[in-house]
């Protein structure tokens, strides 16, 4: 099934399992969300549990806070990445801090779903990658599935988790299909996953860039280079152990994401792995990311986004590095 459908099924299962789970967002009811991720859920669970929100993002999150305090488990949808900023205050000032401010009495378990990333030919504010802002904030956790199976399981795992979770959905992958095993969860929510084994270079990525990196690894293989690809899955916290294990083997690191590199998730991964794997490194870690510009008009997004050529170029650079 598609990732959008997998998310829909995951949400349905979570709502069946716990009557306190509520969905809230703009146009998520009759319309089923602009990406149809909540399609049919209002019909089956009613308007009290699938709430069409007035058009105010800060209020979507601010009321979710109150619902969580009351014992509900809100799952909110921010329609597009670039519209999360009005809610930023509630997310960092209240969602992230109330558990701590109340000395652990308030459980702030909630999920904030954000379709994120580019590559869909959209107009401005519809293609951004804001995950770094949230990864930086103590009190929050940030995850991003890259396959329908992960989407199906990770949304359910996020909903049952006691901490607030920013759930970044790679919108350019919503319509890609994959097998979904509805019986067994693949792994823990915060665990990274090695998607391709290799011995020369470790490529770490997440969300929309996973597929791009797998294609690049395939292309590299045809040039005789053995590339290992790791899907971080969780952006905060980051599961470093399998990344370090891979780097001990390859000695070369490339990190890929759509967000720009400056003070980003990739900065953190490179810094951390440089510290942990210093003596195994055969080249400095290299990042392939969006450029340090506002997200461009989508006619030129192909050049902005990490693509197979840029990833291959980075692989060349770490392979060619002589210490």
């Amino acid at each position: 099934m598609t990732m959008a459908k997998a998310l829909n099924e995951g949400l349905r299962r979570a709502m069946e399992a716990n009557p306190k789970v509520l969905l809230m967002g703009e146009d998520i009811g009759k319309l089923g969300g602009v990406f149809r991720v909540t399609d049919g859920l209002q019909k089956d669970f009613g308007e009290d549990r699938v709430i069409d929100a007035p058009l105010a993002e800060s209020a979507i999150i601010g009321t979710a806070v109150g619902l969580a305090i009351r014992g509900y488990r809100p799952v909110t949808e921010i329609q597009f990445d670039g519209f999360v900023y009005p809610a930023f205050d509630q997310i960092v000032s209240q969602v992230a801090k109330l558990h701590s401010r109340s000395s652990g009495i308030y459980e702030m378990g909630m999920v904030i779903r954000i379709p994120f990333g580019g590559g869909i030919g959209a107009i401005e504010h519809h293609s951004e990658s804001p995950e770094g802002y949230f990864a930086h904030t103590a009190g929050l956790r940030v995850v991003s599935p890259s396959t329908p199976n992960d989407a199906y399981w990770m949304i359910q795992q996020s909903i049952t988790h006691p901490d607030p979770i920013i759930f970044c959905e790679p919108k350019c992958r919503y319509w890609e299909k994959g097998e979904v095993d509805t019986d067994n969860a693949p792994r823990g929510l915060f665990e990274a996953s090695r998607l391709r084994e290799g011995s020369d270079v470790t490529v770490i990525t997440y969300g929309p860039s996973v597929r791009t990196c797998l294609r690049a690894a395939e292309a590299a293989a045809s040039e005789g280079r053995s590339v290992e690809v790791i899907d971080a899955r969780s952006i905060a916290p980051i599961d470093y152990a399998p990344m370090a294990a891979s780097l001990e083997k390859t000695g070369r690191l490339v990190v890929v994401h759509e967000a720009s590199a400056n003070a980003s998730v990739s900065s953190e991964i490179v810094a951390r792995l440089s510290e942990e794997c210093f003596y195994s490194l055969r080249a400095p870690g290299v990042r392939v990311t969006g450029y340090h510009t506002p997200y461009p008009p989508s006619k030129v997004e192909e050049e902005y986004l990490p693509n197979v050529d840029r990833i291959l170029d980075a692989i060349d650079r770490v392979m060619g590095f002589e210490s």
């Binding site: 800060s58 601010g62 009321t63 209240q94 701590s100 401010r101 009190g139 916290p237």
Partner: protein, 354 residues
Amino acid sequence: MIEPQLVQLLTPEGERVYDDVYETSLTAEQIFAMYRDMVIIRRLCNEATSLQRQGQLALWAPLQGQEAAQIGAGRALEPSDFSFPSYREHGIAWCRGIPPELSLRLFRAVDHGGWDPQKYRHSVPTIVIGNQALNAVGYAMGVQRDGASEAVITFFGDGATSQGDVNEAFVWASSFDAPVVFFVQNNQWAISEPTIRQTKIPLYKRAQGFGFPGIRVDGNDVLAVYEVTRKALAHAREGGGPTLIEAFTYRMGAHTTSDDPTRYRVDAEVEAWKHRDPIERVKAYLVRAHKVSAKKFAAVNDEADEMALKLRVDVLAMGKPDPLSIFDHAYASEHPLISEGRRDMEELGVGGAS
């Protein structure tokens, strides 16, 4: 100065006046009890200010002048109602049964909260202006879904009414008929900015544009505040939706102990409001209408002094928290960066309260 459409049951001189809609149900004992609350809260506030001046608190946000607004509203709440305060609601906290010293933990900088919000049904303070209005509406939506007969109240100031969050809270509460009361203490000043900078119409009139009732009450008249709030809470519990109450009052003191109001307001204004003191008018009324003895008033003062003394002792006994405690509640479940931070701090030999 009687503001137009201002609900008032007690004039500044302590005369009982009558309103077309509101009548007081309170007995002399109950009114005296509220007088006692107000005296104690003022004493608490003065003691906290002294403690700050003596370097024992990092900051204090005084409520002097707003005692009637807070005690009237606080006493109108049922035990099952839930309130969402800002950082100046010491009087509400008192009414919710929160021991006074807990209200000072935040200002002693040993805590960001201070009490168990579920136990007292009074949320932890919100310092970011207006955030709590939305949190209250969400909580009220939960009450609604539970089918419970409870009301939610949220407190904020005149400055907060300019915030997007407060206006969004109005929209949401109206759209969902949420059982919430918005209680704005219009104390005329948002630090240095007068209310006229925030609004060109009386604040209570804004409610009309959002589609629910708004009412202005004399915020220095504890009887009127009590009755107006009680009715609005009952309206919410009965499914009638939100109400905006504007308690028209005055911040007699500074915004906080870091503020200097002589830079932006004139003494004459403060003097004029002194004649409308919320405590004096109840006292005058109790003496005149109910012949309450000087002895009874003196006993309240003694009680307030005792409370202040205990407060001082309790505050001075609040030591530095164990630095390792910063890791306790950052997350509700295990997090590698928390484990790592705790380990680092322990390796540095840091730990233990003092």
